[in-house]
Symmetry: C2
Subunit: 280 residues, 2 copies
């Protein structure tokens, strides 16, 4: 990527994973690995490690709004990444504040279930995501199960079904302005791996490479955070959104491949966000 | 610093500053800038920007303990940095858990007042810091006002008074094992700048260099976090603790000097944690 002079300020609004592999901390590491200054608004706290979520604590809604208002009233925010938002009330209030500040480059990762299998989004919140949050989103980055929930259908099981799902997901976003769907095919049955990037006009196939590792904690968080960090920096390039997504995917692949350099926990370990920056 | 092969896992137990300049996020950035994998246990949330703290939310004590137990039971922790702990109850429970897990390289930054002037530690918590937390601390890193509070005297106003304060602070730590005081002289009147590093035996004078900037938000957090990240990696070197402290101070000086590259808020901006890693 080219590096313009202004360092982007990027905020994640999501949950906290104290073990640092997912959620806000993973997002901050991904921002930092891509030359962006990181902020973070806390929608929920978890007690969590690489094996399980053992507890959740949700701060009051008024305090969530206060965090956002205090931040946006002082700091120029160039992109927003949305992760675990937990409840319909949180979703509504985040969407309300993003609309108020006319937030740019909102990348919505519709987190619903943790790698450990624990549910992270109340079931009645899905309608609010579609009604209030998607209109504020520049890009959504669902995986196949999340796409199924958003579309109220079973998860796509082939690239052909992914095409149709990406088209239908794009219809959930405002039709009259530039909006993007990144549909992640990591859950495809069989060996195939394919993501689709779609703006309503041109479908970009992004074939992937499977890496044999259990260290996949926070891969979804990290990818969408990297994209949010890169979107402001990619402006002016040819096909800037596609460039940002391709760059972020290549980085994540290397971060997963390097995850064995870390020794963090006994379950699904984190990816190595700083594989390219640390000299060892 | 030499770079042994094992990447240390370092946890900060502190407060959150959503604007990313201080607290847990600054600590994670400092860990990441020094080759350490970062975790973070949330003792308190603030709504905050570069100008003011507008609100504080404290999760239940049981949830604090759950975060710590969930993390330490799964992840090997090589060093601990302690920041804003807020209340006597929090201080007691953090100390209790650190003792339970026999935590190594605990660097205690006795945060009491934000750069904005807001109080971050209840006044009745100071006795608990001395009674429960200092016995678990490998190093404490007070500035001069904090040293005054810990010693129940006025803040030192000269290097000579700092010598005596460092000696008295060392007496608050266990006498029969290796423990360190880093007394930070940034608040000395006049142009002089001097930190003192003392283990009860040898007093090391660390003269400083003042940089004309208002971007000093989170300098204390960042320094103690960098030290915590470096302590495990410095083992085996000549005078490892002194080496870690000198390295962290030089890094912070350059991070302050580079802070103008960031454009974060209208008040006391953050330092540039990644000045050495980002190619621009």
């Amino acid at each position: 990527m080219s590096t313009p002079r202004q360092i982007p300020n990027v905020v994640t609004i999501a949950g906290i994973d104290p073990s640092g592999g997912a959620g806000i901390y993973a997002d901050l590491k991904a921002f930092s690995a891509h030359g962006a200054y990181g902020c973070g608004v806390v929608a929920a706290l978890t007690a969590q490690n690489t094996q399980a979520v053992t507890g959740v604590h949700t701060p009051p809604i008024d305090f969530l709004r206060l965090q956002i208002d205090t931040l946006f009233s002082d700091v120029r925010i160039d992109a927003v990444k949305l992760g675990m938002l937990g409840t319909a009330d949180i979703v509504f209030n985040v969407a309300d504040r993003l609309a108020h500040y006319a937030a740019k480059f909102v990348v919505c990762d519709p987190v619903m279930v943790a790698k450990s299998g624990d549910h992270l989004l109340a079931k009645n919140a899905v309608a609010m995501v579609k009604e209030a949050l998607l209109p504020q989103s520049f890009m959504i980055t669902p995986n196949l199960p999340e796409a199924g929930v958003l579309l109220d259908q079973r998860a796509p099981e082939s690239v052909k079904e992914m095409y149709r799902a990406a088209e239908r997901l794009r219809e959930l976003l405002p039709l009259s302005s530039e909006r993007w769907v990144l549909l992640k095919g990591g859950h495809l049955p069989g060996g195939e791996l394919m993501d689709l990037l779609f703006d309503g006009d041109r479908m970009v196939e992004l074939p992937g490479q499977r890496i044999d590792t259990k260290n996949t904690h926070g891969t979804g968080c990290s990818l969408s955070a990297a994209i949010a960090a890169l979107l402001p920096q990619a402006q002016g390039q040819f096909r800037p959104v596609e460039a940002a997504v391709r760059h972020a995917r290549e980085w994540l692949l290397r971060a997963i491949a390097a995850s064995g350099e870390l020794e963090v926990g006994k379950g699904h370990g984190p990816v190595h966000h700083f594989h390219a920056l640390w000299k060892r």
